[in-house]
Every structure is written in C-alpha cells, then in structure tokens.
C-alpha cells in the first residue's frame, strides 16, 4: 500500500515538473513583479506596478515622456480657450477598442464621468475634481470645462485609462472586471488575483503590433524569489532586483538595468505640531547635519541620486537647476541649533519604516546616528506599513518621519505639492507663501510662466525646509540576454509592445 502511494507521488511530481513553465513558448514574455493589479478594471488600483500592467492594454488621453512633456495618445490635440476654463479636446481618429467599439467623444465623456462618480468609488476620483462638466461637440471633439483655471488638468488625467462605454453598460462593473477591454497593443487574456495577469497581442492598435504574442505578469511578492525565478529561467524579466544580487546576476550572464525613479526619498519635518521643528533654523540644521552623499554611496552602493534641494529630479517639469543640495556641514548645523535656542540639542520622535522602501532600516539608522552628532536625539520608532499610511493620512506621524514621494506618471512637481498646503489633512506645513505660490502655478495656463512660478516655489520650499532632502531611488530590472528593447522608464514601467525575444 505504502509503496503504491509513493510510486504515485513520485509519478505526479515528475509529471508536475515536466508541466512547469520553465520551457514555455518562445513568444511569451514572462515578467516577475511584486504585485499585480488588485482589480483588472483600471479605475481601482493606483500603485505604480498596477499602472505598468494597465498601460499594456489600456490607453490614456495623453502620456508624459521621461522629461515631463505631454505627448498625444487618445487625444490628437488640445487647446485652452481664452476664458482659461474651457479645454477643447480633439480625439485621435480611427481608434477602436478590442471589442470593435469606436473611440469617440461620447466615450471620453463617459470615462471622465465614471471616474468622477462618487458611487463608482474610483481611487482616481480626486484627479477629476477640477472638472465642472464635459460636453460632446461632435464625434471627434469634446469640451472639458474646469471650475477654475487649472493648468495641470491633462497631467491629472494621465492616470485615467479609457474603457468602452457600450460594452461596460452591457456587462456591468463586475463583468468588466472579469473581462476588461481597452485600446492598447495587448488585450486581456486571464487574471488570478494572487498569481498572474496575462495579456495577448491585440489584432490592431494605433501603437503598432507587438513582437511578442503573450505577456504574463507573474506575482512574486518576495524579491529573493523573484531573483531565483529569473535565475531558474521561469521568468524573462524581474522588476525590482535587490542591489546585492546585481553582481551575481551579471556573473551568470544576466542583465541588470537601473533607472532613476521619479520618486524622492525624504524625511518630512512637520512644523505644524509643537516641537523644536517650528523654528526654520532647526529644520535647516537637520538638512546640514545629514551626510546624504555618504548614505547613497555606502548604504545604497551608489544606487540612488541626490536630490538637489528640491522634491524632484532633473527629468521633471518644475525642476530648478539653480538649486543645490544642502551641503553636509555638522558645524553649521550646531551653530543654527544654538541660534534657535538649542545649544544642547533636543529629543524628538522619528517614525521609520521597515521594508517599505529599499534599505529603509539601514538609512534611517544612519540618519539617527548623524543627527546624534549635532545633538539631536531622534527616537526611531518603526511603524508597520499599513499603520504608517493610515497615520500619515490622519496627520499623526512624526514630527519627523521617512517618506517616499512618487511624481510619476505626470513627472511634474505639482503632483507632490498638494500635501504641503495649509489645509491638507496630513498637516505638514502651514505657510501662506507656499499656499499662494502653489495656487498661482496651478492656475497659470502658460507653461513658461508656470515654470517661473515653480522655480520661485522651489526656492521657497528649499529655504523653508519642511523636509530633509535625501535621494531619488534607483529601480533595478533583471533580465535574460534574449530580451531585446526592454526600455524601463522613470515611471518604473515599460512599453512591452516594443520588446522582442531573441531565439
């Protein structure tokens, strides 16, 4: 009996390993990612890895390139009328959804109204707040009217993927989540929430026909497993490879490509609560006290780029080339502290994370040690990721806490500014100068004039120092040599319709 059982087990195991996808078809591109969209409907997941998957099968009105410039996508062109409120959108012609439905002005109106509808509960609803109404002019033109002049309207809409209205009405929200339809170069194939999302090449797309026939995003939450799956040839690309593994992968003939993500790593210094941080000299002193360069070189092994005394890197709209990082100058830090009335330093709570950002525990500890040298005794408290976000939203973290701010997909500094407004629930900063400049730039329709305002705002922000400026994260993509034309972007995603697999 036992022997029969064993034989059966061994046989099944043998069959199982034959069936395992190590030797999948050549034309399938397999990508290992930490997470896949929690819902195939693009209205409901805002995480960058979800956007990576969505962008293969859906299109947005416009896209931002890696310099923050807008490029046409489902819109062919746009212009703002003299009232500064009315936007005239001209749609790209001849685009059809995967089910054959035509992309037209009615579809545009439907999509913007769907996201704005509170009953739909889209996570992107706040990106439609500026819109007062949408009107269909004719088949290929629509008017979008905003509540007040809103220069960043199109950048707000960058995250909204267009879906077919008739099909949606026919299958309902649940049906759409089970079988979503878009206009992208890939169409939906299958989805298993904890395992994978799979696409096949669409028959037609205005973005061109993909070279690979199929794309599988495999969900491998643990980075070590992701790397192992790459080495065992179970996947072609691994997104987010730990720095420590890069050398080993390269030694084994695998590729490792790094991009500076449009995400800034900072420590937020809340000056709205009662603490020494209320004094601007204290906040500046903390910027002088930390050796950012040393942290990037030693802890991140060079896999990071210093922030230049502002929240975005040189690729973003609003970057101010005149600004420089606060130099590492503990002597000056001590002097500023003494001027502010803290010659012997002070004690303050610092909320940190573990595993939320690459190497976070290590660099938080390094920062604590450096602050100690100028007399600031930071009490590091590690907060669990889920609690961290909720406490952040409720304005209860800190006074000092670590934070990573994404400014993609818009690659525009505007995206990370709203939470520093006086009225924001996070209660980070209360500065009338900042508020006024923020409002002025957001409603300045002329791009060049807006940039001037943003540069000014950059100076104010650096000197007000509501944060300690640290670095931009670098994201590493591991891949097999046969993967060609895989070009990761500063958004952490890539256009897979351009990728091919060498035999």
């Amino acid at each position: 009996m036992l022997r029969v059982l064993w034989t059966a087990v061994v046989l099944v195991l043998a069959l199982g390993s034959l069936a395992h996808p190590g030797a999948a078809q050549e034309r399938t591109l397999r990508i290992g990612v930490g997470l896949i969209p929690s819902n195939p409907d693009p209205a409901f997941d805002t995480q960058s890895l979800a956007l990576f998957a969505y962008s293969q099968m859906f299109d947005t009105l416009v896209v931002a390139d890696d310099r923050g410039e807008l490029r046409p996508a489902l819109l062919e062109s746009w212009r703002v009328r003299d009232d500064k409120l009315t936007w005239e959108f001209t749609l790209r012609r001849g685009v059809r959804f995967h089910n054959g439905e035509e992309w037209d002005a009615a579809a545009l109106k439907f999509n913007l109204e769907r996201i704005a509808d509170p009953k739909v509960k889209s996570h992107w609803r706040n990106r439609t707040f500026a819109i007062a109404r949408v009107e269909v002019m004719d088949k290929h033109r629509a008017l979008v009217v905003t509540q007040r002049p809103w220069a960043v309207l199109l950048k707000d809409l960058l995250v909204i993927s267009m879906i077919p209205p008739k099909y949606y009405a026919q299958v309902g929200p649940g049906g759409f989540s089970r079988a979503p339809v878009g206009t992208g170069p890939f169409k939906f194939d299958s989805y298993d929430k904890l395992a994978h999302i799979t696409f096949t090449a669409a028959d037609r797309s205005w973005r061109g026909k993909p070279s690979v026939g199929k794309v599988v995003f495999r969900r491998l939450p643990e980075a070590a497993t992701r790397v192992a799956a790459l080495e065992a040839d179970e996947i072609d690309v691994a997104v987010d490879v730990p720095v420590e593994d890069v050398r080993r992968l390269q030694a084994r003939g695998l590729r490792a490509k790094a991009v500076d993500l449009a995400q800034s790593q900072i420590f937020i210094l809340r000056s709205t609560v009662d603490s020494p941080l209320k004094d601007v000299r204290v906040r500046q002193a903390m910027n002088y006290a930390i050796d950012k360069e040393g942290i990037v070189q030693n802890l991140l092994q060079g896999y990071g780029r210093l922030l230049q005394g502002q929240l975005v890197g040189p690729e973003a709209f609003g970057f101010n080339p005149a600004l420089k990082p606060y130099p590492y100058d503990p002597e000056r830090a001590r002097k500023l502290l003494a001027e502010a009335g803290y010659p012997n330093g002070f004690e303050i709570r610092l909320h940190g994370t573990q595993g939320r950002y690459p190497k976070d525990t290590e660099f938080q500890e390094a920062v604590v040690a450096q602050l100690e040298k100028v007399g600031i005794r930071a009490m590091l408290e590690i907060v669990d990721s889920g609690v961290f976000i909720s406490q952040f939203a409720a304005g209860r973290l800190g006074p000092v806490f670590v934070f990573g701010q994404q400014y993609f997909p818009s690659i525009d500094v505007n995206q990370v500014l709203p939470m520093y407004r006086t009225g924001a629930p996070q209660k980070l900063l209360a500065s009338k100068e900042f508020d006024d400049l923020y409002q002025a730039q957001a409603s300045e329709m002329d791009a060049r004039a807006r940039l001037v305002l943003l540069h000014k705002l950059g100076h104010v922000f650096r000197d007000t120092a509501p944060v300690v400026f640290m670095h931009q994260l670098r994201l590493i993509f591991g891949s097999h040599a046969r993967v060609k034309d895989f070009e990761p972007r500063v958004t952490g995603s890539a256009d897979l319709s351009k990728v091919s697999l060498a035999p």
Binding site: H20, N126, T225, A228, A394
Partner: protein
C-alpha cells in the same frame, strides 16, 4: 462522543465571538479606523463623508452590535481593493492555505513520528543523535531562510522543482517542507520523549519476550501509547502552521489566505483583514476540536470523563 462534540461546538461559538471582539477592538485601538480606508491625498470633507458612510460616527456599542450582526450573517463588507465580498475572497483562498497546511501536517506526522520512535529505541546511538541534531535545526531555522535555501538548491541549482507558484503538485513540495520543518521537529522530539517512557513499561518487555518482532512491538503497541500527546501537539501546531503559512506563502508566491491577509494589511483593505483573521481563527478552533474528537476516538477514557 456526542457530548464532546456538543461541548466543542459551544467552544467554537465562544471563540468566534471572542475573536470578533478582539478584531473589533484592535481596529479601534489606534483611534478612528477611517485612516485605514481613506486614500493618501484625501480632503477633510471627504474624510467626514467616508466616516459617515462607514458608520464610524455612531456610538461605539452601536458599532459593536452592528459588527456582531455582520459576523453572524457572514457579511464583512466589500474588499476595498478587489471590490468584492471580503468573505467570498477569504473562502476562495482558504482552500489553498488548507492544502499547504495539511501537506505540512502530513509531513510532520509522516516523518516526525517514525523519527521520534527510532530515536527513542536507539537512544544515545548515532541515529538518535542525528535525529536530535536535525530537530534542533528544524526548530531553530526561520521559515524565511529555509525557504530561500530550498529554492536556491532545488529550484535554481538543481532545477528539480519550480521556485514558486501553484500550478502543479510539484509546486507544493518546497513550501510544504519549509512550513513543516518546525512542527516536524517538535513532533519527533515529543514522540521520542513519550516513547522513552512507554518503552520502560512492563507490557513492552512482555511483548518482546513473547517473541514479537521489534518492529511490530514498536509501531503496533508502543507507538499507540505514545501517540496521544503527539496528536495534541499536532493539533496545536495547526495554529503555528497557519501562522507560518503567511510567511511561506509570501516566499513561494502561494496564492493562499496568508498572502491575501498580508496584501490586505499593506493596502489597508480592512474588511479583508477582518474576514481573514476571523476565518483563520475559526479554522484553528475547528482543527483543535477535530483533534479532540480524534483523541476521544483513540482513547475511550476521554469521552467517558
């Protein structure tokens, strides 16, 4: 037997209410749970309307009763990330966790019990020392490290087994071994200790002097007497295993309940966290109840007592 079953059923009910209460209190310990639900860039007005929508503005006892009512109806609200019934999601992923846990329990019993028996019989010899060293390792190695090492050797180097996923039975092997290590070691140690006691009893000597083979004596007579405590630990281990499944499922990308709960915690999907914790606890209580019933079946003295 029926009386034991009834008593267990009452226990189960008490446990469910207890766990529900703990879940309810925990969510409110850090203050208003609305922070768990609201998006990162929420406005103050939106926060207020959300608070009303979820009923967090009502008195606490009213919220508590409403929550118990929900639990009684198996309705714990919609998952915020998946937009589906959280209980449905939990019930969908629970079988995968049960498969993994059951496989690990099977390994613990199938390897741990014979290993403990062998170690006891050849006490102090090489076999005993080897097994005891093994159990020490098994009990002290963290799941995470063991899992990664197994992947490195069996999936990346040797390529005998897949690194992760759940497509075939072969995918179950490494996670089941990883998960079973601790409980296997504990079972082996316990069986050994029990067996040492049993082997000194008279009936063992009688059996051997009657000419019974060592194997028959060990596995048919002695082991039976040593099994009861081992069963109890295995039952208790169900809880440990369910907990370990959370880590193991993450390493091996095994699409089970543990993984679902971790993701729900990270994404602040609190209806799923609630439902997941509740169902995990119920599963644990049920597993223990089953062991107790088994206990009663194996040892008639218990159901009479």
């Amino acid at each position: 037997m029926a009386r034991v079953a009834l008593r267990r059923a009452v226990d189960l009910l008490v446990a469910i209410v207890g766990v529900a209460t703990i879940v309810f209190v925990m969510l409110r310990l850090s203050g208003d749970p609305i922070g768990l639900i609201a998006p990162l860039d929420v406005t103050a007005e939106e926060l207020e309307s959300l608070r009303r929508a979820f009923g967090f503005d009502r008195p606490i006892w009213e919220q508590y009763l409403a929550f118990l009512w929900q639990v009684a109806h198996g309705d714990l609200g919609q998952s915020l990330q998946f937009r589906r019934s959280s209980v449905g999601l939990v019930l969908e992923t629970l079988p995968m966790t049960l498969v993994l846990t059951a496989a690990a329990m099977f390994l613990s019993a199938a390897i741990g019990i014979p290993a403990g028996t062998v170690a006891a019989f050849w006490r102090g010899r090489v076999a005993d020392r080897a097994i005891m060293t093994g159990t020490l390792l098994g009990q002290s190695i963290p799941y995470f490290w063991l899992g990664i090492m197994l992947i490195m050797f069996f999936a990346v180097r040797a390529r005998w087994l897949p690194t992760s996923g759940s497509e075939s039975l072969a995918h179950l092997v490494l996670p089941a071994i990883t998960l079973s290590a601790t409980s296997m070691a504990r079972t082996a140690r316990l069986v050994r200790a029990e067996m040492l006691g049993v082997l000194q009893q008279d009936f063992v000597r009688t059996a051997l002097s009657k000419g019974l083979s060592t194997r028959a004596m060990l596995f048919r007579h002695a082991l039976r007497n040593a099994m009861l405590p081992a069963l109890t630990t295995l039952g208790l281990d169900a809880g440990v295993l369910l907990g370990g499944a959370v880590v193991t499922e993450t390493i091996f990308a095994w699409p089970g309940l543990g993984r679902l709960i971790v993701q729900a915690i990270l994404l602040r999907d609190y209806p799923v966290v609630q439902a997941g914790v509740l169902y995990l606890s119920v599963t644990f209580v049920v597993a223990n109840a089953l062991v107790d019933l088994l206990y009663a079946a194996l040892d008639p003295r218990i159901s009479r007592g």
